[in-house]
């Protein structure tokens, strides 16, 4: 009985994390019922991932910026600018597609250095610098494109946004074997990782997660991954962009939890003065953070351009808001110091599901905006309420 009680207490402490998962599942179930099963059809799940990929990519960079206590309003314009540069390079300068990708990531780094310089070394708030960036990079996009669209792009380049891994089943099997294989390996990896971590923590006597909850979480995650891979495998297999996204998430989740750079970001966001007096090179970390954000925005720009097969002066409009919303729905604190990459990704999926589900239902854009706005407000209100309750002494 007391085990049950202590488990309940533990869960109450993890309310935010659990709430996020429950919200995600509730939204899936709601749309699954409301759309008569269209939401979880293989083709729709594939679309959901592919069409949201660039917001999810942006959210990974944005959550780091927000944890450090900054914000980046320029990412939508940077997406457009990098898209434009890729179009100019490939169609006008005849740069090979692979070189264009590398050069475009370099362009993103330069954009990040430009903004990072003003924020970190000149001391202008990120809100102002990136608001200026939002305008300047939109302007540069239009100059680069001379206000015209560029299309089409070579197939190899387009694969980055809309391609799939080759079908090893030769198109004959009902479920694609390569995708299933990747899914199983990913599941095993996650399960082993979870067990290893729990063992280590138990060894050092800091484990407080009840075993039943640990097991539930593990089974649930495994079932979710297997389920998604199964659905993907019954359509066209693994989208290439999912591999890109998966690598990005794994790398940045561990950067944020276990690298010196990641720890410094949390330290700066949690207490800038204390971080500086602890010998952390706060300016350098901030600068690198924005360079990183620039490169990630460039990647999102390439994926988006490749997916639409179009470089468009209006591309990426409002992406910054979706990415920021994803981060805050994912539990990041407005004041910095708190947030996780996985949280931001789940937040991004919640936004994506709302967009996708409401579109299927034929809800007008005016109501879509209204509902997304209320969800964001509700998520942050829940956070604030929770914090007040736990700190109420």
């Amino acid at each position: 009985m007391s085990v049950f009680r202590s488990s309940l207490n533990y869960l109450a402490g993890q309310l935010r994390q659990i709430g996020l998962f429950i919200a995600l599942i509730a939204i899936v179930i709601f749309f699954q019922v409301a759309t008569n099963g269209i939401t979880l059809k293989p083709i729709n799940v594939t679309n959901l991932i592919v069409q949201n990929s660039y917001i999810l990519i942006l959210a990974v960079g944005m959550v780091m910026v927000i944890i450090a206590g900054h914000i980046d309003l320029s990412v939508g314009s940077v997406v457009a600018f990098v898209g434009a540069m890729s179009g100019v390079m490939i169609t006008q300068w005849n740069v090979p597609w692979w070189l264009a990708i590398i050069l475009c990531l370099g362009v993103g780094a330069l954009v990040g250095m430009w903004q990072g310089f003003w924020i970190a070394y000149f001391g202008i708030p990120a809100f102002i610098v990136t608001l200026a960036g939002m305008l300047t990079f939109r302007g540069l996009t239009q100059i680069a494109l001379q206000n015209k669209q560029i299309s089409p792009f070579p197939d190899e380049f387009r694969a980055l946004g809309s391609g799939f891994l080759p079908d090893l089943g030769g198109g004959t099997s009902a479920v694609e074997p390569l995708t299933l294989g990747i899914g199983i390996i990913a599941t095993l990896f996650l399960v082993l990782q979870g067990i290893r971590q729990r063992r280590a923590r138990a060894k050092y006597d800091v484990e407080d997660e009840p075993f039943a909850w640990f097991l539930t979480k593990l089974v649930f995650t495994a079932a979710m991954i297997i389920g998604i891979t199964y659905l993907l495998a019954s359509y066209r297999g693994t989208p290439i962009v999912l591999i890109v996204l998966g690598i990005l998430i794994v790398v940045y989740a561990s950067v944020m939890s276990n690298s010196v750079f990641g720890r410094h970001i949390y330290a700066i966001g949690g207490n800038l003065n204390a971080a500086a007096l602890s010998g952390i090179k706060t300016k350098r970390v901030t600068f690198m953070l924005f360079v990183n954000m620039g490169v990630i925005s460039a990647l999102a720009g390439l994926v988006f351009t490749a997916q639409l097969n179009l470089a468009n002066p209006k591309a990426g409009d409002g992406f910054e808001l979706d990415a920021i919303a994803a981060v805050f729905i994912g539990g990041a604190a407005v004041t910095g110091g708190i947030g996780t990459v996985t949280g931001a990704i789940i937040g991004g999926f919640i936004i994506g599901l709302l967009n996708n589900g409401m579109s299927i239902l034929g809800v007008g854009t005016e109501y879509q905006q209204l509902i997304k706005g209320l969800v964001l407000l509700g998520a942050v209100a829940f956070d604030v309420y929770n914090k007040r309750r736990s700190g109420g002494r």
Partner: protein, 513 residues
Amino acid sequence: MTTNILEMRSITKTFPGVKALQDVSLAVKRGHIHAICGENGAGKSTLMKVLSGVYPHGTYDGEIVFENEPVAFKSINDSEASGVVIIHQELALSPFLSIAENIFLGNEQQNNGWIDWNKTNMEAAKLLARVGLKDNPITKIRDIGVGKQQLVEIAKALSKEVKLLILDEPTAALNDEDSAHLLDLMKHLKGQGVTSIMISHKLNEIKAIADEVTIIRDGKLIETLDMHTDDISEERIIKGMVGRDLGSRYPDHTPNIGEELLRVEDWNVYHPLDHQRRVVKDANITVRAGEIVGIAGLMGAGRTELAMSVFGHSYGHNISGTVYKNGVKINTSTVANAIEHGLAYATEDRKRYGLNLIEDIKRNISTVGMHKIAKRGWVDSNQEIVVAEGYRKSMNIKAPTVEALAGKLSGGNQQKVVLSKWMFSDPDVLILDEPTRGIDVGAKYEIYGIINRLADAGKGVIVISSELPELIGICDRIYTIFEGRITADVARGQTTAEFLMQNMTQERDKDKR
């Protein structure tokens, strides 16, 4: 008419899982200054929050009788309307508004919604005169020192026709001069019939002005002492607070002093905003291995400015002078450089400059020495737990696990986390700025023990403090600093608090010439 203005009877206040107050009764006599003391977390602030309506009537058991009437305050507005005003430790003034505007904030002198500026400023001037502040009422709050801000808070309370004034640690942030002025003012107000309750850690102040003192420990009333009839010593009060005799307030220590570790020569620092003003003047200090060196100075005398400017030029403008480590000139112009050369600086303001309060203990401890548990930029999280667990045990940090958030710890335990953080960076010289500020007596003793252990390990320790008995109790040698200049350098045992205070308030040269 009874002589008691306030009676709190059998107050019990519970939070989920904790009994913060248990059957506490308090009687305050009209026109007296009543001190409340107890260790941190004993329940003093909770009791005052019950009294002032922060915890509304109904959330606690027991009754409150104010001016012979049972009262049920539902909010601070209720209690203020009755004449009970609380001034919190963290001042609640708006820095960009004037003194007068702050005094009448929420209580504006107005005509149908339009502010009457003449009346506002004139009434403010009258109130300022009562608290002995000569500044112009239109001066902005950020332009006056924290001592004067405290007086503005009191003027604000007076504007509300206060009958019972509650001051929570009123002198915690003040230097001795401002503290003395504040205590005088409290006595003066007492003469005008204002009753005060003062929460304080500073026993000498209680002894100086209080009529009664109530001691609370672990949420229970221990005793109320009459300061006039009983012959109450500081030791007597401490005994009540901690429930045991502290044989000595300072642990015994035999120093083992070696070679010179650090020498700062001809150090000059200018104010970061006012570039003409020199805040540290030709300072020279040395620390030897195994030596505990004190820096005694009033707040604003340049002690923190000296320490922070040496530590990575973290304070000041146009810094000049030389720092030698083991006789070799070193560059300490960035914090990273200073740390690399074996310096550590534990700040006087833990919450603002020392800790990441929303992060857990282990990550706070690993902040500075992270490279020791990292390989090629990746931190070994398991090793991090082992390290933090080690400090939790050796420093006696009271927390369930090293994953408890730093912000949830008490002041003493937070200070131990700060010290652990710097010890893990393995420095040769530690500068500890007010290491025991806002810490209860028991934890202070532990901190002194830690300082002694550091010295025994051959490190040089510099302790900056405004508590003279503390410096005399633990330091091997003490510098005094006044207006940015080092005015004396005396060995332990050859000095008295009076001698130090003299050198902290006037330059030695003047006596000589």
